[in-house]
């Protein structure tokens, strides 16, 4: 926190359409980690910590053996959830290094959904042989409410109703991702920009979400290396300090069946408060941000809850082009994000936030001194991390 630790390296595997990877998920994970360590100018033997989120498959035992990590001192993950843990994983590394439990931690996420099945499908084996669903999901799944798209659609409809947000704002979030992807050679959607017409004509998934409101599912891996600021300064690419990170969970936040109060929320109300207070800056100081897009609607909720725009003003602010690169007030998802670059459970957005500080983005915001990454909205606890120039 407060510039004690920094990102020294970023790396990723190649990205593939879902099921298109020629390597296994574990091979992809190892490749991204190797590349992040090489980018930093470090050796794998320098790594003494491993952090991820929602990843039991590519565990430290396998990684240590495969990568020759000779002395792991620290491992960690956040609880369950999903992409909401993308920034809190960075926060764990920051906390561990600040506390002196490790010096050089790899934070990563790998996905090969061809190999391991999809998030977005109802292929669950809830109850072997029986057509029943237990627990809190018994109150939702029997009504055909199953996938994240459908659940987030219910949240988004209420949000749109309360704050007079229309499909025009949802389109902007989709548009900027596809537009920024056109400049990014890593982006899977490069060569496939979308127009408003394409968006309107794309099929409905769960209203108000068209196909282009929903993130694809992809295969690939992304990783960063976090170390002390002092050490990072002496390495190949210099330091991208972590200025602040935050997680947030309100009382009964995320309770099943939409029974949290207040509803709807993206779970960023006090993530924002804590983050700005720890960093000593405010949203208006931030020139560029990466917002995890699971679906366009929750991104708008997160933008508002993080303090960038009151919810009742969102429609006007967003449709004025505020999220567009290069001239908008807050260009977002400059790599193309989950929608346009690749969906690696949101970790690609962390790499992109670091690249904005380095000046390496393909949609660079000139002279960015601060760069924000906001993790998956609509799932609790929310998390965010703010990088700064050294």
């Amino acid at each position: 926190m407060q510039r004690r630790t920094a990102v020294a390296g970023v790396g990723e595997s190649e990205f593939f359409k879902r099921g298109g990877a020629s390597e296994t998920e574990f091979q992809l994970a190892c490749k991204a980690i190797r590349r992040a360590v090489e980018d930093a100018g470090l050796k794998l033997s320098d790594v003494d910590g491993i952090v991820s989120y929602m990843d039991a498959r590519n565990n430290p035992v396998r990684l240590s053996a495969a990568l020759g990590l000779s002395r792991i001192e620290f491992t960690g993950q956040t609880f369950g959830g999903g992409g909401n843990g993308a920034a809190s994983a960075v926060m764990i590394a920051d906390a561990a290094i600040s506390a002196g439990y490790a010096e050089t931690i790899v934070v990563f996420r790998a996905l090969a959904q061809g190999q391991f099945g999809r998030f977005g499908q109802a292929g669950f084996g809830y109850s072997a042989g029986r057509n029943v669903v237990p627990g809190p999901q018994a109150f939702t799944v029997p009504y055909g409410l199953v996938t994240a798209a459908q659940i987030n659609a219910v949240q988004t409809v209420r949000f749109m109703h309360e704050h007079a947000v229309t499909q025009d704002s949802l389109f902007e979030v989709a548009f900027v991702a596809y537009d920024n992807a056109q400049r990014n050679p890593r982006a899977l959607r490069r060569g496939s920009p979308i127009t408003r017409e394409d968006y309107d004509e794309s099929r409905w998934i769960a209203e108000p979400f068209h196909l282009f409101d929903c993130c694809p599912e992809n295969d690939g891996a992304s990783a960063i290396v976090v170390t002390t600021v002092e050490r990072a300064r002496d390495l190949a690419k210099g330091a991208v300090p972590i200025l602040a990170a935050a997680q947030g969970l309100e009382h009964r936040g995320g309770v099943d069946g939409f029974n949290e109060a207040p509803f709807p929320t993206a779970h960023f109300r006090h993530v924002g408060e804590s983050l700005w207070s720890r960093a000593g800056v405010s949203p208006k100081d931030v020139p560029v941000a990466q917002f995890y897009e699971n679906f366009t609607g929750p991104v708008l909720m997160a933008i508002s809850e993080m303090g960038f725009c009151p919810p009742d003003d969102l429609e006007k602010w967003v449709t004025a082009g505020s999220l567009r690169w290069p001239n908008g007030e807050l260009p977002i998802n400059t790599s193309g994000g989950n929608l346009g670059e690749a969906y690696i459970h949101g970790f690609g957005l962390v790499n992109e936030a670091v690249r904005q500080i380095r000046g390496e983005s393909t949609s660079q915001v000139e002279g960015a001194e601060l760069s924000l990454m906001v993790a998956g909205p609509g799932y609790a606890p929310g998390s965010a991390v703010l990088f700064c120039r050294d």
Binding site: G120, Q121, A122, G123, Y126, S127, R130, N131, V132, V133, P134, G135, P136, A138, F139, T140, V141, P142, Y143, G144, L145, V146, T147, A149, Q150, A153, V154, Q155, V157, R158, H161, R203, W204, I205, A206, E207, P208, H251, R252, V255, D256, G257, F258, N259, A261, F263, P264
Partner: protein, 141 residues
């Protein structure tokens, strides 16, 4: 009546949800210690920490708090039911309690926030356990 999502998954009954899914009434869990309504059920009361719950019956009327019309199949058993409408109903007697269901007897275009609805029940016998499920559903009031 034929089930709206005929052939799709059913709730697995347990002590905490049996009354909700079999009584043919809207019955939610209420803490015996402090009368806090707890929906969906949890192992202990979120206000007083109590372990004991009873059922509180309320009128099966409410308004649509939010909704979605699902048009993309996520499971073969749901494909032939498309499009189907999922609603979140705020109960008239307990506005902070929201019940998920489907909107029957209405076109997808007719669903909107604020629409007054009333509960109806889909009766589904389970030959394996002998239970008769009564799944709450919603129609325009």
């Amino acid at each position: 009546m034929t089930r709206y999502l005929d052939g799709w998954m059913l709730p697995a009954l347990d002590e905490a949800n049996r009354e909700f899914f079999t009584s043919g009434k809207i019955v939610v869990r209420e803490c015996r210690g402090c009368q806090t309504i707890q929906h969906p059920p949890e192992d202990l009361c979120y206000r007083c920490g109590g372990y004991e719950f009873g059922g509180r019956e309320v009128a099966g009327t409410g308004t649509i708090y939010s909704h979605t019309v699902i048009r993309h199949p996520v499971h073969p058993k749901l494909s032939e039911r498309l499009p189907y409408t999922v609603v979140l109903v705020s109960l008239d007697e307990l506005p902070d309690v929201r019940i998920t269901g489907n909107l029957l007897e209405a076109a997808p275009e007719d669903v909107r926030v604020g629409l007054a609805v009333r509960a109806v029940w889909e009766e589904i016998p389970d030959p394996e356990t002998g239970d008769v499920l009564r799944l709450p559903q919603w129609v325009p009031a």
